[in-house]
Amino acid sequence: MFKEFLCSVFFLILAHVPLIANSQESVRLGIPVTEEDLLEFDLIAPPDGSGFPPGGGTAQEGKQIYDVNCAVCHGAGGEGTSGNTVIVGGDMQSEGPPLRTVGSYWPYASTLFDFIRRAMPATAPKSLTNEQVYQVTAYVLFMNGIVEEGTQINGDTIREIEMPNANGFIDRSHIQ
């Protein structure tokens, strides 16, 4: 009887240990995964070229993809159909208010691939293959006079592209 009592006291204490621990530490319910599991899930493609999928493309190949999927909003030559859809031209040093486009304003070419892959075309985001995203990226850069028509755009070459306004930004992230 006494032994049983001791036993139940022991289990009672055991049962309470995790509760005490939980009140000070997190429950830790995250499920371990691997980066390989996330290859299609993780769409982040930063300037250092990491996160870019295999493959590549040229402006030559991208023209047709652009004409079919992009021109309806961005215009046949990237001139846009409303203020926010202009993606070609502009000059940050113009006399009047500068026209800010991919060519005149965007500091990194990687952003173009990253954004097209995650968010474009606006009516059907993520409907292009990685290959097609490379091709359209190349075509938009070509229309802006930043790469040649036959330049191969891929995870290695994209980080070498110097955008015209690359040095135009002042990082204020230290002000918190």
Partner: protein
């Protein structure tokens, strides 16, 4: 009525914020027009019909009075090249206190509101961590949570003032700010579980909307006070605010509080997403551009009287408004009725919380003449809300994000109130 008797404290009719406390109970000297009896004013003292029969009983989900259902957010016209994109603005001029009802909290979407089944939604933490992790919604509900009252303001709020927009109301010009009690898990708890590696300096947050909208946030902030918010004002975060979960970054431009949060990637450098390069950056007059402007400024706004309202007759009005700062609490709000020539300190009504809306109020006697009403906030760090000229002098008019400038409301001879630039 003499200025002294009314306790005038600044030009053009501002009355001491303490004055009403002294005379308010009796109303001495403050009645709009004396002498009229209730019956002459059209008041009826018959027992009304709703006092003669029982009304409907309790309901499963509440609704507002049909007499008060005209209060709406103001949404922009849909844009065919931007499906689901755009914003809706809170009706600030009709709200009181400091908490925004969830149905009226402002919205800003980049590809519409996704209809997320929480059992199919995951929050992934990967990148520079010891162990990448995936969290189920049902599991996140088991974590210890914190609750904090904070404002949320879109970086583009009040941008119309830098463009010199004519007219407008508190809602149309400034309605991209709201305030709520947010409840969720400190992001640091989840980052600790994954184990942040020493070389990490940033995190990239990504939403599960059709734009998979992403923003980069310095790790110092992510480990400080950022939360994964699951509840807003006590109920599950609504779809328009990121259901089933959103990031919440107190005091910072709204866009970094990524909705429908599905990924946190720990990195060494910012990801340079579209919405932190092409958008939400501010070009200066010399054509260089500010990037990563995170905390919102020290700011205030008179919500009543405000643009598109009309004052019916000269007399006493209670000026009221909201103030907030992205870097602290509100220490003081001053009000001017003469376009900034003289100022009087307003009374703070209720809470004065860190990075939350703070309500201020001050009585004012409109004499029927010209008046320009302004408010000016000072935060707990001593930072003072700038004038529009200050903002333009420091960065020009090529950008419209992150504008904290003083709003001027002009009261015209017929009592009409409108947005002006002084």
């Amino acid at each position: 009525m003499s200025d002294e008797k009314l306790g005038k404290v600044a030009g053009n009719g501002l009355i001491s914020r303490r004055h009403l406390l002294k005379v308010g109970a009796s109303g001495a000297g403050l009645a709009l027009s004396a002498g009229a009896l209730g019956a002459d004013q059209g008041l009826s003292f018959q027992i009304p019909t709703w006092s003669r029969q029982p009304g409907p009983g309790a309901t499963a989900y509440g609704a507002r009075s049909p007499f008060a259902d005209d209060l709406q957010r103001l949404a922009a016209q849909p844009n065919p090249t931007y499906p689901g994109g755009g914003s809706s603005r809170s009706p600030l001029q009709h709200l009181q206190g400091t908490i925004t009802p969830n149905s009226l909290h402002f919205e800003r979407h980049h590809a519409g509101v996704p209809n997320i089944d929480p059992s199919q939604h995951m929050l992934v933490i990967n990148g520079l961590v010891r162990q990448p992790l995936a969290f189920r919604y049902e599991d996140l509900l088991k974590y210890q949570m914190v609750s904090r009252i904070h404002f949320l303001e879109c970086s583009g709020n009040s941008g119309a003032l830098l463009r010199g927009e004519i007219g407008g109301s508190a809602q149309s010009l400034h309605g991209l700010v709201s305030c709520a009690e947010w409840t969720g898990i400190p992001l640091s708890t989840l980052l600790d579980e994954a184990g942040v590696l020493p070389e990490a300096a940033w995190v990239a947050a990504v939403g599960a909307d059709a734009a998979s909208m992403g923003r980069s946030i310095p790790l110092t902030k992510a480990l400080d006070d950022v939360m994964v918010a699951l509840y807003q004002n006590g109920e599950a975060v609504r779809p328009g605010q990121g259901y089933p979960m959103r990031l919440f970054c107190p005091g910072w431009e709204g866009n970094v509080s990524v909705k429908w949060l599905t990924q946190i990637k720990v990195t060494q450098e910012p990801a340079q997403f579209r919405d932190e390069t092409s958008k939400y950056t501010d070009t200066l007059q010399n054509r260089s551009s500010y990037q990563f402007t995170f905390p919102m400024g020290t700011k205030s706004l008179i919500t009543s009287p405000s643009g598109e309202m009309t004052l019916n007759q000269p007399g006493i009005y209670q000026i009221t408004g909201i103030a907030w700062s992205g870097r602290g609490s509100i220490r003081q709000v001053e009000v001017s009725a003469d376009g900034g020539k003289t100022w009087a300190e307003a009374a703070i009504q209720g809470h004065q919380l860190d990075r939350a809306l703070t309500r201020f109020t001050i009585p004012w006697e409109w004499n029927g003449g010209d008046a320009i009403l302004q408010s000016r906030a000072t935060d707990s760090r001593g930072s003072i809300q700038p004038t529009r000229s200050d903002v333009i002098a420091s960065r020009g008019t090529l950008s419209f994000y992150h504008n904290p400038c003083i709003q001027s409301w002009q009261v015209g001879p017929a009592g009409e109130v409108r947005n002006v630039y002084v």
